[in-house]
Symmetry: C2
Subunit: 283 residues, 2 copies
Amino acid sequence: MARASVAMIGASADAPAHEARMRIRAGRYDGQTAGLAPGYLQGNLAILPGDLALDFARYCQRNPKPCPLVGVSDSGDPMLRTLGADIDIRTDVPRYNVYRNGELADQPGDIIDLWRDDFVAFVLGCSFSFEQALLDEGVPLRHIETGATVAVYVTDIATTPAGPFRGPMVVSMRPLVPADAIKAVEVTSRFPAAHGAPVHLGDPAAIGIADLSRPDWGDAPDIRTGEIPVFWACGVTPQVAIRAARPSICITHKPGSMLITDLASTQASNQPGRAMPSAQGRT
Amino acid sequence: MARASVAMIGASADAPAHEARMRIRAGRYDGQTAGLAPGYLQGNLAILPGDLALDFARYCQRNPKPCPLVGVSDSGDPMLRTLGADIDIRTDVPRYNVYRNGELADQPGDIIDLWRDDFVAFVLGCSFSFEQALLDEGVPLRHIETGATVAVYVTDIATTPAGPFRGPMVVSMRPLVPADAIKAVEVTSRFPAAHGAPVHLGDPAAIGIADLSRPDWGDAPDIRTGEIPVFWACGVTPQVAIRAARPSICITHKPGSMLITDLASTQASNQPGRAMPSAQGRT
């Protein structure tokens, strides 16, 4: 934490994240963001019309594990001032999903023409931060080793609704030997803004998952002898809740193409949504 | 945590908090809530008109240390469904402060006649949870030992504004010997929904406090040889920000007369705003 803070104070030190966003803004990159600007916090995006913004803020407050809010724009302001210098949410994500009445309608490279003066942009923490911390602590992650997409499942755990936002908790699963599962609980507990500690481990049926070999999203997992499944709340949860709410329009990042912020990825620990002093000073 | 969870599952186990609220609701208690229903999370209250609710939610998201949001009502709904069974925010706080255009206008025992269908009630974590945890860990708290009110100061640290909500961070100070200051950092870090780790320790001038012997609120502190001042973000911060916003109406608890929830006070650790399963099931 201390090291990251020192590394990021002052505008020039924000260069890697800023540079990546400038490439994206200029239309020179529209792919996945994993591995871009290492050490900087990446986030999921949901842009909603003003009349749904308070309910969505409430949904996130009531369901902090699947929906860890790290930043909220001012209404109609496309600049995400608490997440860094010069972040324009209309252009700085590689590719967007535009949903109309809950259905995917378009996948543009920017949303300049779609932006409205009542829009509110929500940025939510993602699992990148805690996965890096797990690897740093020597906890192996099979899906990363094998180049697979993490397995994601719908559970029978209901989230706490807010207005039209409601639905099941969606979880990602990583198979671990018990000693690593214990270490993973310790490590991810320190990252409440990146889904925090697991929500379950062991018997999948206990949370309504009938067959681990058939995930709802991602690749079928490779679970080896002696390993138990460990389940974390997943950022697909708010996407399902938004789909259920069928807003006239909602814009998200295209999965895998996240927003890169100026915050340290370790920022996802301890205090959700706390900006670096350099970012704070600019608001 | 485990013990508290077990103790609270099922309606009858909520009895101490529920019973205290029923006494308050019936008008049979209008005093301080410290010591009432031990083990249950108490919170600060701010009720705002609908047109300011999204900005205030943003203000809390951007300033989680002074403004740790533990619950938000639905618009116009006086029942705080995520914080417990049968919590009516119009009657269940011992005494209220009613502010009109930023000025204290009344201190009624209930707000039934003032409630509007656009009101949103915000409940914020307070320092009771972490003070109990400090005492449990053997960290002595002078103001409690001497029956004084904790010393509270305005700093020169600016909070991150949201709409009309802005102002300095306000802090509470507890004098501790260095070994206890270290322990206090460790313990309070685990309570992000109760202001979390300190924001400063040592030199008061570094955060704009000219004279520790003259607090802005509370009693002059008794600092002894070998002790250093340790400063935590304080729930007066959002009150100052609300005052600055001069809303046509805002209703808070009268200082010291908090809302008693059905959540375990240890709930203030780890995941802000996460309700007990028993409370969740009722939403």
